[in-house]
Subunit: 360 residues, 2 copies
């Protein structure tokens, strides 16, 4: 069974194919025909790749580049090393990069593809749930700086995305749960029916063995929702900002926890705080907030802000977020399950109130 989601951008549209790699490989081979291919993976992806997959991607002319797994690799230095590897492999402007891995591999490889010889094509093969539902779709690429995450990057759309849910079998549960924060986020801000679907299948979300049919449906819907947003607003001048729901608070929590809380856990807490704020400002109802938080909990995610994270300290971090305009904090607030809007003119005291009400 093969699902296709089309990202219908006017100039650089592409397809997301969801199904076994054995069925999507032909499409990749057509794209790669006659071009040099540089396959990029991290040390972790290398070990979980099914026998022969790496070989299959580099069966034409080209080579591989593997770097140490982990966010610490997401640097200018690794992007430079990918470009250098491409040069040594004699990649030219027509060459193709392939990202085999999670978000770090995708962001780095996409960034290297955006800048190598001022831009070459690339293909995303996400292997984590987070990359499947979020980072591999939409063309945001980048690297971290000591001063902050994703501070340098480019908008560069892939030419093709191949998603094989079979990769999820080996994904650690904590990573799966983290990605579910983004999955639930799509439901809250964009699609009430999808939110209800997730409520009905809550038990399956954290079942020890992933149900490929369930996750195939979840991934497809998330890709459809994200694709629609990206087509409307490729470079985040407007509606795409809705996808930051839970992230303004979440990034601050993640940073203040010194990354002891995962991205997904931080986003879940951020959604709980934004949901609280939406109640106190009258954007949505107490019932909506309870439904959101119940689903987050059912997925194994936290919805309380540990007391040690001070509201004033979080606010200070939010003021330096790269999405902040002239020091004004911009937040996304839901106005019912399935709808949300960007709000820029809230008093800082309202934000702090909401954070304090979420303290555990």
């Amino acid at each position: 069974m093969l699902d296709t989601v089309s990202v219908a951008l006017p100039e650089n549209g592409y397809d997301i194919l969801i199904g076994p790699l054995s069925e999507t490989a032909a499409r990749f081979r057509r794209l790669a025909a006659g071009r040099r291919v540089l396959a990029v993976a991290d040390t972790h992806t290398g070990s979980i790749l099914p026998e022969g997959t790496a070989l299959f991607f580099t069966s034409g002319a080209g080579g591989e580049f593997v770097f140490p797994a982990g966010e610490a690799s997401k640097t200018f230095a690794t992007a430079a090393a990918i470009c250098a590897a491409a040069a040594r492999q004699k990649c030219d402007r027509r060459s193709l990069f392939v990202a085999l891995g999670g978000g770090v591999v995708g962001d780095l490889t996409g960034f290297a593809a955006a800048i190598y010889m001022r831009g070459v094509d690339f293909v995303q093969v996400p292997t984590s749930l987070l990359a499947m539902v979020d980072s591999s779709v939409g063309g945001k690429t980048g690297v971290d700086l000591p001063e902050g995450k994703n501070l340098a990057g480019a908008f560069h759309q892939p030419r093709l995305v191949l998603i094989d849910p079979a990769f999820l079998r080996t994904l650690p549960m904590r990573e799966r749960i983290g990605a579910l924060a983004e999955v639930i986020k799509y439901g809250v801000i964009l699609d009430g029916a999808f939110f209800s679907f997730l409520e009905q299948h809550a038990a399956g979300l954290t079942a020890e063995v992933t149900d490929p049919a369930l996750f195939g449906r979840i991934i497809r819907r998330c890709c459809e929702l994200k694709a629609a947003i990206v087509v409307e607003d490729e470079q985040e001048h407007g509606r795409r900002a809705l996808l930051n729901y839970g992230h303004t608070f979440g990034h601050a929590v993640e940073l203040l926890s010194n990354f002891s809380l995962s991205h997904g856990e931080s986003v879940a807490i951020g959604m709980a705080i934004a949901g609280r704020l939406a109640v106190t400002t009258g954007f949505w109802s107490r019932e909506d907030e309870l439904r959101q938080n119940a689903l987050l909990r059912a997925a194994g995610l936290p919805v309380r802000l540990p007391r040690k994270y001070n509201a004033a300290a979080l606010l200070e971090i939010m003021r330096h977020d790269k999405k902040c305009r002239d020091g004004r904090v911009v937040v996304v607030l839901p106005c019912g399950i399935g709808r949300a809007q960007v709000v820029a003119d809230l008093e800082p005291v309202r934000l702090m109130e909401a954070m304090e009400q979420c303290h555990d």
Copy 2:
């Protein structure tokens, strides 16, 4: 006297203002109003900047970043350092970078602006003749890798270019002469009347004191010619490739000389070789070739290939040029003074012949 050349790109057009900075400053201040500004210069530019200029650019909120002058600084590490400085200065997506210097400063600052928070605006203030007539117009930005020059970069147009010919007074003669190779190139490939103008003013090109009126006219015409090409073909899919005239051979010569020949000297030799090839293949006449080479010589540029640079070795380097497609060397040949075309199907032996005929 203030000249304006408009680069009429459909989405990101901008103006090039040619005249004293004292007259163009108002336009800059309007653009920078209410935004944080990061002024980037190298150690050399810092020392030649007229008293107060640096201050003037950073009179609003913002700061400066100065890096060691020279091509050796044109690396990922310096681009990362510029982004880090921007982050420390609390630059956001609306901030403005300013490049004060020659090609290296412009290429690096433009690249940093292209990627900082996935793209911020930048202004070019070129201080060398080469940057004024070439690198500050057109939006090509980038850094070098150990594997090759400009191997990573982005197309990112400036929002404004301010050219003050007064900076040329302090430019070393060898640098001025190097830039004249690009100036003469514009005449050969695009504008016979401009070529004749340069012939008539040949003595002024290398006069000890630069004539601001003469150089003002030269800079304006070069900017007009380059702007017209860039508007037609922003990302070099077609006609923009004409600007590589002399560069395919020239880059190889520059590399084989281990940079003991300057870029301009190498391009002049490259133009002489391409001019020779255009005679042997019947693209232009022996008389055209003689006119081109006489003007290059009058400008103080070499037109003979030192015998120690072997034709076979040069050809091998050209085969690995980033503009090379599938190992086929693409050259630009003039078909008369003022016209040129891209030629991709020449036998390697013809290229070697032309190189050998240019040996000194």
